[in-house]
Symmetry: C2
Subunit: 484 residues, 2 copies
Amino acid sequence: MPRPSRERWQRSFSEWFDWALMRAEIYDYGRYPVKGMGIWMPYGFQIRKRVFDIVRELLDSTGHEEVLFPLLIPEWMLAKEAEHVKGFENEVYWVTHGGLEPLDQKLALRPTSETPITYYESMWIQSYKQLPRKFYQVVSTFRYETKATRPLIRLREITSFKEAHTVHESFEDAERQVSEAIDLYRKIFERLGIPYLISRRPDWDKFAGALYTIAFDTIMPDGKILQIGTVHNLGQNFTKAFKFRIQGRDEYFDYPWQTSYGISDRVVAAVISMHGDDLGLVLPPEIAPVQAVIIPIPAKDPSVDPKIIDYAKDALRSLQESLFRVKLDDRPDVTPGEKYYYWDSRGVPVRVEIGRRELDSGTVTLVRRDTLERKTVRLQELPEEVRNLMSQIYDSLYRRSWEYLRQRVSRHASVEEASKALAERGGMVELPWCGKEECANKMAEALQAKVIGTPWPTEPAREGDRCPVCGSSAVTYLRLAKQY
Amino acid sequence: MPRPSRERWQRSFSEWFDWALMRAEIYDYGRYPVKGMGIWMPYGFQIRKRVFDIVRELLDSTGHEEVLFPLLIPEWMLAKEAEHVKGFENEVYWVTHGGLEPLDQKLALRPTSETPITYYESMWIQSYKQLPRKFYQVVSTFRYETKATRPLIRLREITSFKEAHTVHESFEDAERQVSEAIDLYRKIFERLGIPYLISRRPDWDKFAGALYTIAFDTIMPDGKILQIGTVHNLGQNFTKAFKFRIQGRDEYFDYPWQTSYGISDRVVAAVISMHGDDLGLVLPPEIAPVQAVIIPIPAKDPSVDPKIIDYAKDALRSLQESLFRVKLDDRPDVTPGEKYYYWDSRGVPVRVEIGRRELDSGTVTLVRRDTLERKTVRLQELPEEVRNLMSQIYDSLYRRSWEYLRQRVSRHASVEEASKALAERGGMVELPWCGKEECANKMAEALQAKVIGTPWPTEPAREGDRCPVCGSSAVTYLRLAKQY
């Protein structure tokens, strides 16, 4: 049996990813006759659901209210905020006909929902006393992408866009909300064992209509950067565009302040990519649809098999009683080896093997998915041992993935050094920066990389650090990377 | 305080319904600048979520697998099954442009998903050994309705369409699945206290592409019929259209059999309409976002108020510990009367009033939402009493709504009698029927009603019953009603 390996990814992560999605029946991609759209299959759907259960739990517990806004946005509404529509008009799908009739107005499939949500907030909220309000929805959004599409990473139908939208009475309150959102996203990614870097996007690459954008990026197994979450301070841009004013504390009417923040299918892409290996998925136990699978091993003497099955059923019951998501795979016409292969590719954290030896000694053999280490324990200790293993697996996935990321972030004094680091191990490099867009673009060009932004929280440059392009004193550091 | 009344509905149910949706902040309708689309507000979203949690629970526990298919369906795919496209082509929204470019193929917003799902089933399923398979998804579907739209009842964006799709190796198996689906829908509606009638739709009104359609209808407070669920035996119509064949038990390849069944936002519309009264919503406790609200009543002597609040917090804790969804409404600047009005309109099943009298005697006063009956109980008994009240409320809503429906269904020998019954109390009438479409249409015309179908399970006519139009022997009974 091949040992789990992370090295193979670096040769061909993209092939591995496509293979793993199909092999584990996550997301059927590339066969739908519309580019950039695929199908969440039953097993993948359960993973997606558990990831977004975590998102919902954290949002609900911090006063966010789930809502559902229409998919179709009239052209004039999308166009209300000038920067916003400029950013999106080239990548929006348009509905133009109902039945055989042309519609009297073009309707966009939502690319994001700042505009309809602000429109309603202006009707729902009259006074600072009603603030803050925090709304969110989990919906499909659509982008007519011109870049190459990829399953879960760059889709034209983003099937799981969690977009949050908040309203505040002051700039300071909106700033506090940006911090809360960043904390929430930290917690989400921590629970999934996805390591991240937080950057402020450069002004020329912020969300269309925002004052500024903070982004979470992770480093994928091929060394490229994937944006996995963004938080925007929208200022008063949308409230002014929609003439949405409220009565303020000082009795005057004024435009309230907004933030918005989103994460998508990419979270699922990241959790699969970050932890998987040659055998397929390795899932953090919290989101595994099946946390333990019991596999009976037929004995040499077939008359023993019914006893093995009964014993396996005891194990099943004991894990069910402890509320694990557990399956007994007693398919008679499938070999244990085939079953291992099947469940390993699906990332089930713990395998429980039960054969004659286990039956005779009152034990079970546990195999952890991430290391394939085996351990024999007494049947009575099974729930406790599975719980421990699951916690060890999570810790180990978490540590390993953070280590992987940390090894791929470095700060350099010169473009040459940075270039060498990027070529060697991908990831992210940081260079001192004077703050000028022109210098940033030159660095990006020299590195054949993209400007990711500057560290968040903001980090002033050390005395003496100089922009490698223009030589003037640096104000902070610029992050660059090859990006999805 | 106005007593709950159901009579008002019959004067103006439609106004009541619009008022109740806005008053309780369920669904903001009529203000979105695209007809037939609205917004699920936070409170409404929680009700919707709990209704669909029941749907998911029942489907998951019977081997249905949740999936997610694309929204956009290419024109050629929708057109594969000839009857199907004929039924939908006049009411589909078409996406024709991506950004500023025209697309090379028109894409329909899904009106329903038989076509893409059959397309994938044909790739996923090769053999009878993989059958039955049961898929479902909960998605937005779109119909360019030409009829008058109404919130949750006739939308152009149906925001919560649960569509199930199953595949079987034989006609008999598909028939068994139709029965299972009917049983599931019975259970869903029973849990919500929605009474129903099950009919087989006439052949000229079945789902486009089905062999036949079984429908669940309820009778709304204005006496009109609302279709709340349908179950279709699709035969081999879609599998043939998609050349989807499997290896059968007999080694030959053949087209498998399919069923599909759906319910929508209308379930929420029905549960709100069926149980509500003049004060607003009355929710079955299982789906109530707040099951009990605690309202402190200020004392004449304000120095006692902190003690009342502390006592109310004891009550809160005791209900929280028993896992009720409970709120303490201690807003200082709102009168108890305003609070009653607020929570009553939201349908909270149990109100807990706590004032000086309760504080001094170690009791609390409970008011049940459906009857407004009051009852004082000891604080220690609060969780037990709330549990009992909730169960009594459910029983009473259930009984009352079934009684309402039963009183509005009757069988008649003549069109005149039937007409009189319809005029008096709305609902459904049954007339003996020879089976000819022509006679059905004449009955419908005479009654100014719609043909709903025939009783399910099929009921043969009694000896001697004759079709009131042509006078020949009846084969069964025809159901007619005014319908939404």
